[in-house]
């Protein structure tokens, strides 16, 4: 009896527009299913962070906050840098759901010659991958550089978003980047912190505390908003706040601390740091997909 079952990526995409908060749930569920499917096919990779941050991605890419053209990515656009590069399964699934590349390509995650590298590789030229990341703490500085290029030189009015993990904040250079963002008054810069308090070795506050986080970010010169990272209304309000800051020229960068649960949406993964860096087995994937609303057949006895 094989535990494997056919994986089908539904060929649907979603458009990017202002929408009522409740509409994001359906998009997030699709992204979560695509994450589980690509990970079970890959046989390795990170499950917890991607599932935990999916709601943030759903709002950012499908709520009209990031401006992009999925048919021709490399045109004038807002920038998103996934500083926590290991969380790329959620970025790949999100981009595929915008129509930036065929959803079937999610099958190739972590495979030989794939554009979906284990950590994002700019050399592969996948639409939506602005830079290689994976060595923690670097993406946020790259994003600061991008925000400087527009705010201080080009002034085309584009927005720059970056997402870091919370364990990532133990990398000192993150705070160098934060200092620079405030120093140059980068109100076009939005730093999202996926705060699930989980990292590979355990709870962030036990491995090496980064707290108090809100006070730290504020002391570094950010306009700080703490939200429930699974509440679409709160996420929308936070991004609206950032865009207002950016448009009125507040002179302050924005930090959104999103309180999330690692592995959100899959009962046996939720809030368990053990799921930081492993994929589901086929049997676990079956259960996960069912919990996420997909009808997966029972294994057939041989």
């Amino acid at each position: 009896m094989s535990a494997e079952f056919p994986i089908v990526f539904e060929p649907v995409t979603f458009d990017n527009r202002r929408r009522p908060a409740e509409e994001f749930a359906k998009i997030a569920q699709m992204i979560r299913r695509d994450i589980i499917k690509s990970l079970v096919l890959a046989g390795s990779g990170h499950s917890g962070g991607p599932l935990g941050s999916t709601d943030i991605f759903a709002v950012l890419y499908f709520g009209g906050y990031m401006r992009y053209n999925p048919q021709n990515w490399w045109t004038p656009r807002d920038r998103f840098v996934l500083s926590a590069g290991h969380m790329c399964p959620v970025l790949y699934a999100t981009l595929a759901n915008t129509g930036a590349f065929p959803k079937e390509e999610l099958r190739t995650l972590r495979k030989y010659n794939s554009r979906l590298q284990g950590h994002p590789g700019r050399d592969m030229g996948l639409p939506g991958i602005e830079t290689s990341t994976g060595s923690l703490g670097q993406g946020i500085s790259i994003a600061v550089g991008m925000a400087m290029a527009d705010k201080l030189l080009d002034q085309n009015g584009y927005r720059v978003f970056t997402l870091t993990g919370d364990g990532e904040l133990q990398e000192g250079s993150v705070w160098e980047a934060a200092m620079a963002a405030a120093n140059y008054k980068l109100d076009n810069f939005c730093w999202i912190i996926d705060n699930n308090d989980c990292q590979i070795d355990g709870r962030v506050h036990e491995v090496m505390s980064i707290y108090p986080l809100e006070e730290k970010c504020r002391a570094f010169g950010f306009d700080v908003l703490t939200v429930n990272g699974h509440d679409y209304g709160e996420l929308c309000a936070a991004f609206d706040h950032f865009i207002a800051n950016s448009e009125k020229g507040s002179g302050k960068p924005t930090a959104i601390i999103a309180k999330t649960l690692m592995g959100k949406g899959v009962s046996f993964m939720e809030d368990r740091y053990e799921w930081h860096g492993k994929p589901p087995t086929w049997e676990q994937a079956r259960i996960a997909l069912r919990e996420l609303g997909e009808d997966v057949p029972e294994p057939v006895a041989a």
């Binding site: 830079t131 500085s141 600061v144 030189l153 980047a177």
Partner: protein, 363 residues
């Protein structure tokens, strides 16, 4: 460096293939970098410079005064500056970041590897205070290891020009090429001897003096020392070829292999550890293509220390005299064959008796 380093026992006239001419004076290579940046700023609107708090010392201050709107201070944060530069490059800018090599090649090593080289972005790094000639600042600031690291990075271009003018030319050339690049320069005033028409091309080593008895292959300030050594060797009837390897990566394999074939004995000279730098690069291509004896002049697996540049160059064995002695050893190894190898010291030291044989008093 004071005049006295230069005025060796008798400053010889350099006979060359009309390339580097006479000594034109003493000038620090960092000045060539600073002036080159200003030229680039004039030519290209998208050249920007990031400062790491030592702008006067690495002479990015010249650009800052001239183009204040395109200069951004990042503070004492080399990791951040390197990655911000990557972000600027990904937004169509040509960012230069300069600091001391210890901090902008090694402190930020991971940022260079991932955000600059793996990303293959158009980031340019100026690494000052290279080598032992930094002087009184001491070991922490005398970077002697970065050539070894930088030349292993895929996509990286690594330039080590030999004097002020070549540094200026190289700075302009690195701004005009596309891709990650690093230029190494020093603090002290060193011999300035190339001319406006001395050829410089990224990826091309230049033969500064012809000869077929031994090849002296050098980079940076050691090129002048190699020319001095060649003059001394000529007094013994030995004609040395002197090659200036101003680009360590991509490496000019052809010129070095041709020299190995023609001379059969090689000395490398660099203001860097003898391991894995220019000498390592030469050894790799010679071992593969045309194995001949090689002697390595450089810092021998030690850190530097405080002192005046010329005192340190003497102490750490970075003068023409070590190159001279090494050339004799390399030729001896070539001529005596395998049996002779064991009889020869592994690392050349200054041999006063050899000089005395020439009637040159030992210092």
């Amino acid at each position: 460096m004071s005049q006295n380093l230069l005025q060796h026992d008798s400053p010889p006239p350099i006979v060359t293939m009309s390339k580097p001419s006479q000594l034109r004076g003493m000038k620090p290579t960092r000045q060539g970098f600073g002036e080159g940046l200003v030229v680039l700023g004039e030519r290209y609107d998208n050249v920007v410079v990031l400062g790491g708090d030592i702008t006067g010392s690495v002479m990015t201050s010249l650009f800052k005064e001239r183009f204040p709107d395109r200069f951004f201070s990042i503070g004492v944060a080399e990791q951040n500056a390197t990655t911000i530069a990557a972000g600027l490059a990904l937004s169509g800018k040509i960012p230069f970041f300069a600091s001391y090599g210890a901090f902008c090649a090694l402190r930020n090593a991971d940022q260079l590897r991932i955000s600059v080289c793996y990303n293959e972005v158009n980031v340019k790094i100026g690494g000052g205070h290279a080598g032992i000639s930094v002087g009184p600042d001491g070991a922490t600031h005398q970077v002697l290891e970065e050539i070894a690291y930088l030349r292993t990075l895929p996509h990286m271009t690594l330039l080590v020009p030999c004097d002020y003018l070549e540094t200026k030319k190289a700075t302009i050339a690195m701004g005009e090429m596309v891709g990650p690049a690093y230029i190494r320069f020093g603090r002290a005033a060193v011999p300035f001897f190339t001319a406006d028409d001395t050829p410089f091309e990224i990826g091309k080593a230049q033969v500064f003096r012809e000869g077929s008895d031994v090849a002296l292959i050098a980079c940076g300030a050691m090129v002048w020392e190699a020319l001095l050594a060649a003059e001394q060797l000529a007094k013994r009837g030995i004609q040395a070829k002197v090659i200036n390897v101003s680009t360590i990566k991509p490496f000019d394999v052809q010129t070095v292999v041709d020299a190995a074939r023609q001379c059969g004995a090689i000395v490398t000279a660099e203001e860097h550890q003898v391991h894995a730098g220019l000498g390592g690069a030469v050894a790799e291509v010679v071992a593969k293509n045309f194995p001949v004896p090689i002697e390595f002049v450089g810092v021998k697996d030690s850190f530097g220390g405080s002192g005046e540049p010329e005192e340190l160059m003497e102490k750490f064995g970075l003068t023409w005299k070590e190159i001279y002695a090494a050339a004799l050893v390399a030729m001896e190894r070539r001529d005596r064959g395998l049996i002779g190898y064991r009889a020869v010291k592994d690392v050349p030291h200054y041999h006063p008796e050899l000089l005395e044989a020439d009637g040159q008093p030992a210092r």
